[in-house]
């Protein structure tokens, strides 16, 4: 840590504290009576949020690359350390975790009871709903455990520790989808778990390969900063890069590794879906920036153009397929496939604007898609069906719901003035300087985004009032508005004033670019380079 830390706050082991608090909350939720589960978990998540805000205040954008660093030997036999620390990229993603978890808890306040009502009636093989008991305590305990793992995965600076969190994060999400999800929850949960595990195990092979390479060149280590200094021959780099890349591409998910997302996103309970798409998927794109590029620069250079092609295909494919969806939650999932194409584009375009844009995009996508999932979740909880065609003219009875749907949708299509516009613009500009053709194709994706969002809005919210039989289509309650409001507020604020984020992100992006050994193509643009 820099010696000139302005306050005592900088010396606290923030990351460890933030990781432990949700675990304490989990223990409390498990120990206390059921009626206290919700308030205790909300309180826990708010404590984490407060801690994160304090940590962000203590973070020095121009200081060391990794701050709040801690490193202790964990398993010396494998050269593994408990090593944590954040750069700007990890910091903003941890902040996103801290914001989304309380939002999800508020939005899922009645989840364990509401979940069953949201089932589609013609649920095939699924048994009658009456017999299922859904433990409220377990639900909130899982969310809090998930929070610990999500913070851990972004905070780890030891590749082994990262891998542990990377895999462990799957288990609570698996149970969230499988126990609290929609009618095809088992299928979706297993598909989610297996896709991620296959990727994860390939990464395990690459992690071991990395360790053995480091052992060949001295002492075996998993410490990120020492691994970046390794000399790895190009063929080995490509093999290891692919091990990491496929794991992250499945997680992100990039086309053609995306097929688990629509199922998982559609069947997950609303809160689970927000965390899944909002944060868990970001682990993949975060992994591109943190691990794929700096550790294997030559491989990234060689394979980058092919990945750009995959990203562009993903942007167009996701958008086109989203238009064809009849299921609202699947629709949002496919829009995410398109969005992740943009993020991937930003990561692999190797310009500082594009990468800054990609990181901003990760945050903004978490906010906007989170809001969209929440609003759709509220709609589905009322109508008890996810089918687009079952809704029409909902705005007439539920104007607030419709309004929030529109705002969240507009941010998803990157309307200027909302935060997503800034990030999408940066990604496109940054990509254009290196890959103009890809940028042109990606721009088509923006137009398609307008189509799928506005068309979905038009079909469900406008026109003759028609709601599913037996549904009580009321407007949003105070709690529901309270859940979405912070996300909308943040999107507006960051849309007009993204500087707090870019200030933190830019140095981290520049450090990454340096690791890759890339310069921005001349002439340089808005982002200052050091």
């Amino acid at each position: 840590m820099t010696g000139t830390a302005p306050s005592f706050l900088a010396d606290w082991p923030w990351l460890t504290i933030l990781g432990i608090v949700p675990l304490v909350g989990t223990a409390l939720v498990a120990a206390l009576p059921t009626r206290l589960a919700r308030p205790v978990s909300l309180l826990t998540s708010l404590v984490v949020l407060a801690g994160t805000i304090a940590m962000c205040a203590a973070f020095e954008p121009d200081g060391e690359r990794f701050q709040f660093v801690q490193a202790y030997d964990w398993i010396p036999a494998f050269g593994v350390q408990y090593a944590v620390g954040v750069d700007g990229i990890a910091l903003v993603l941890i902040a996103l975790v801290a914001v989304l978890v309380p939002v999800v808890i508020v939005a899922s306040w009645n989840e364990a009871e509401e979940g069953e009502q949201a089932m589609v009636p013609d649920a095939g093989s699924s048994a009658p709903a009456a017999g299922r008991i859904r433990s409220v305590k377990t639900f909130f305990a899982l969310i809090l455990v998930l929070e610990t793992m999500m913070i851990g995965v972004f905070a780890a600076t030891d590749v082994f520790l990262f891998y542990v969190f990377f895999e462990a994060v799957l288990i609570p999400m698996y149970f969230l989808i499988g126990s609290y999800g929609g009618p095809r929850r088992s299928y979706a949960a297993v598909k989610f778990l297996l896709y991620s595990l296959v990727g994860g195990l390939l990464m395990l092979a690459a992690v071991i390969g990395l360790y053995v390479t480091s052992a060949d060149q001295g002492e075996g280590t998993f410490a990120f900063e020492r691994l970046t200094e390794l000399e790895i021959s190009t063929p080995v780099q490509i093999a290891l890069f692919l091990g990491f890349f496929i794991a992250f591409a499945i997680k992100a998910p990039l086309w053609p590794f995306h097929t688990w997302l629509p199922d998982a996103g559609a069947e997950a309970p609303v809160g689970g879906a927000v965390l899944l798409v909002g944060i868990l998927d970001k682990i993949g794109t975060f992994g591109f920036l943190r691990y794929c590029l700096p550790l294997f620069p030559e491989a990234a250079d060689i394979l980058g153009p092919y990945i750009i092609v995959l990203c562009v295909i993903g942007i167009l494919y996701g958008a086109l397929v989203a238009m064809g969806q009849k299921d609202l939650k699947r629709l949002v999932s496919y829009t995410s496939v398109a969005h992740f194409g943009f993020i991937g584009l930003g990561c692999f375009a190797f310009t500082s604007q594009a990468q800054t844009g990609a990181v901003l995009y990760m945050v903004n996508h978490g906010l906007s898609t989170g809001a969209l999932f929440l609003v759709i979740g509220f709609l589905v909880a009322r109508g008890r069906t996810r089918n687009v065609e079952d809704y029409s003219g909902v705005a007439k009875v539920a104007p607030v719901l419709a309004g929030l749907f529109l705002v969240a949708g507009l941010s998803s299509l990157a309307l200027p003035g909302l935060s997503t516009f800034v990030s999408e613009f940066l990604v496109l500009v940054g990509t254009y300087t290196r890959y103009p053709v890809a940028a042109v194709f990606a721009t088509v994706g923006i137009i398609l985004a307008a189509l799928y969002i506005l068309w979905a809005y038009q079909r469900t919210m406008q026109g003759e009032l028609r709601v599913p039989a037996g549904a009580r289509m009321r407007d949003l309650r105070g709690r529901e508005v309270l859940a979405v409001a912070p996300l909308i507020a943040l999107m507006l604020f960051l849309g007009f004033y993204p500087k707090p984020l870019t200030d933190v992100i830019t140095p981290a992006v520049n450090a990454t670019m340096q690791d890759v050994g890339k310069q921005d193509p001349a002439p340089t643009h808005a982002q200052p380079t050091r």
Binding site: I75, F78, I133, S135, E167, V190, V198, A205, I208
Partner: protein
């Protein structure tokens, strides 16, 4: 050559773990003869546990010891003591499982008269009777004594004797299930016949190697491999025959065919003993024979082991997917794990040895406890092992289902469980030993195994219970203690594995 070996020496202290366990077994036989029937069970439990705990204490006191005993026939060294200690603990846990009486309505899972014809009137009476059978304790102790001896045997004849001492009681115990007698008897006969075949192969291999080296001592065989002009054909044939016997006991493909039937038919407590302890002992013997006896000719056996490891991982994982019985599924999973452990064996370096030792500990505790959980889920006809009857168990009995799910995740190798650390240890050693391709097959097979473990979790937690499904019996302290032990070890080795890794690393040196 034999003349300049050191003077005959029997360091009784160094051999004490085996003496204590065999002594307890002999005492158990005497208890059968002289102690009155009503207090026999209690005395047997005390004798067995005392023997195994005494053995463990002796192992601990011997820590760091490294010498050849009994004219070089027995090696007391790091791997021996490490595995003997593990076997004593797991053996004691198996004894606890065998002692469980509160689960079955008639008391205990061990039949009183194994020779009665299944389906006959006596058999029906037998299934209702409250009688108990206590010969199983000395049988288990003899078997465990053989298991302690096998990894220590530095001489192929002694190795064969240890193999028979551990196998014969097991053949018998496989046929002792109180419920589903026919399956149990089939298991016993199958295990016995195939086991006898594999023993014959082993013995034939010993004979050929004697022809090659002029000795059955592993040290002499090692010396012989260094001399030019020996008969390579005898060496290779002998090695292959020996491998058949060893690979049969560890349950590697293509010698795995007995595993599912025997695991399914045996009383679950005996299955647990077989799955955990037999595998550990057999791997101990395999490691010693290949590392000590054939350490110089690794290029003769490594390609063979490569192929066997690959087919074992793949066949075990793929066949497990199709199983509908939880004990059969665990049997195939044990086959797949045999493949993973072989990956560590093939590394042929110190990391590989210590990783394999660590894997055996991690796997032994998890699998023993997993079988212990299986004994809890019951319906009117005994254990409900068909997977369909496990549906919705997570709602009926969240604790038991949660614990079982944790064991499954450990077997699948999810981080923060012992299974992950173990897999990491062997895969890393194999990569360092140049077996990268094997590791890639290993991770793919791991993904397949994850599928069927995840499927059981889906059944338990994400599906609704069947109306007439099984109940979860409340175990006595015996089974509860075993499960708690397994849970603790699985968790601790997953989070803080360093002490045991250190222990395995210090142990990873064979005496020659």
């Amino acid at each position: 050559m034999p003349t300049d070996i050191q003077a005959p020496s029997f360091d009784y202290a160094a051999l004490s773990p085996m003496f204590i366990v065999f002594g307890a077994a002999v005492l158990g036989v005497l208890v059968e003869a002289f102690v009155p029937r009503r207090s026999r069970r209690r005395v047997q439990i005390v004798v067995s546990l005392a023997g195994l705990i005494g053995g463990l204490v002796a192992v601990v006191l011997l820590a760091g010891h490294s010498s050849l005993e009994a004219e070089g026939a027995i090696a007391i060294d790091g791997p021996t003591l490490f595995l003997q200690g593990t076997l004593c603990i797991l053996g004691a846990a198996s004894i606890l499982l065998l002692s469980e009486r509160s689960l079955d309505s008639s008391g205990g899972d061990i039949v009183t008269q194994a020779a009665v014809l299944p389906g006959s009137r006596e058999d029906l009476q037998l299934s209702e009777s409250q009688g108990i059978q206590t010969e199983v304790y000395p049988l288990a102790l003899f078997s465990l004594g053989g298991m302690l001896l096998w990894p220590a045997a530095n001489n192929l004849i002694l190795s064969f004797i240890a193999l028979e001492v551990l196998s014969l009681p097991l053949y018998l115990m496989a046929g002792l299930a109180r419920r589903r007698r026919l399956l149990s008897q089939e298991a016993a006969v199958k295990y016995f016949l195939l086991g006898a075949f594999s023993s014959a192969f082993f013995l034939y291999g010993v004979a050929l190697l004697y022809g090659y080296a002029g000795s059955v001592d592993l040290g002499d065989i090692f010396d012989a491999t260094g001399r030019a002009g020996s008969n390579e054909v005898l060496l290779l044939l002998g090695l292959a025959m020996l491998a058949v016997g060893l690979l049969f006991k560890v349950g590697a493909v293509p010698f795995q065919a007995w595993t599912p039937d025997v695991y399914q038919g045996s009383p679950t407590a005996v299955t647990a003993l077989m799955a955990a302890c037999t595998k550990i002992a057999a791997f101990g013997a395999l490691l010693r024979i290949f590392y000590v006896g054939f350490g110089r000719t690794e290029w003769d056996w490594r390609p063979m082991m490569w192929a066997i490891a690959i087919v074992t991982m793949v066949v075990g994982a793929v066949l497990a997917v199709t199983q509908t019985d939880v004990k059969r599924m665990l049997a195939y999973s044990s086959v797949a794990h045999t493949g993973f452990i072989l990956v560590g064996v093939i590394a042929v370096n110190r990391e590989g040895l210590s990783g394999t030792l660590f894997y055996l500990v991690a796997y032994g505790f998890t699998t023993l406890a997993a079988f212990a959980v299986v004994t809890l889920v019951r319906d009117s006809s005994g254990e409900a092992t068909h997977l369909s009857s496990w549906a919705g168990l997570g709602q009926r009995s969240p604790l038991v289902a949660g614990v079982f799910a944790f064991f499954l995740l450990a077997l699948a190798g999810i981080p923060l469980t012992s299974g992950f650390m173990a897999k990491f240890a062997v895969f890393q050693a194999a990569t360092q030993g140049g077996a990268t391709a094997l590791v890639v097959v290993g991770v793919v097979a791991s993904a397949v195994t994850a599928f069927f473990y995840a499927r059981v979790i889906v059944l338990m937690f994400f599906q609704d219970p069947a109306p007439d499904g099984p109940t979860v019996a409340i175990p006595s302290a015996y089974t509860a203690a075993t499960i708690a032990l397994g849970l603790a070890v699985t968790l601790v080795l997953g989070i803080l594995p360093q002490p045991v890794l250190d222990l395995a690393d210090q142990a990873a040196l064979f005496v020659r």
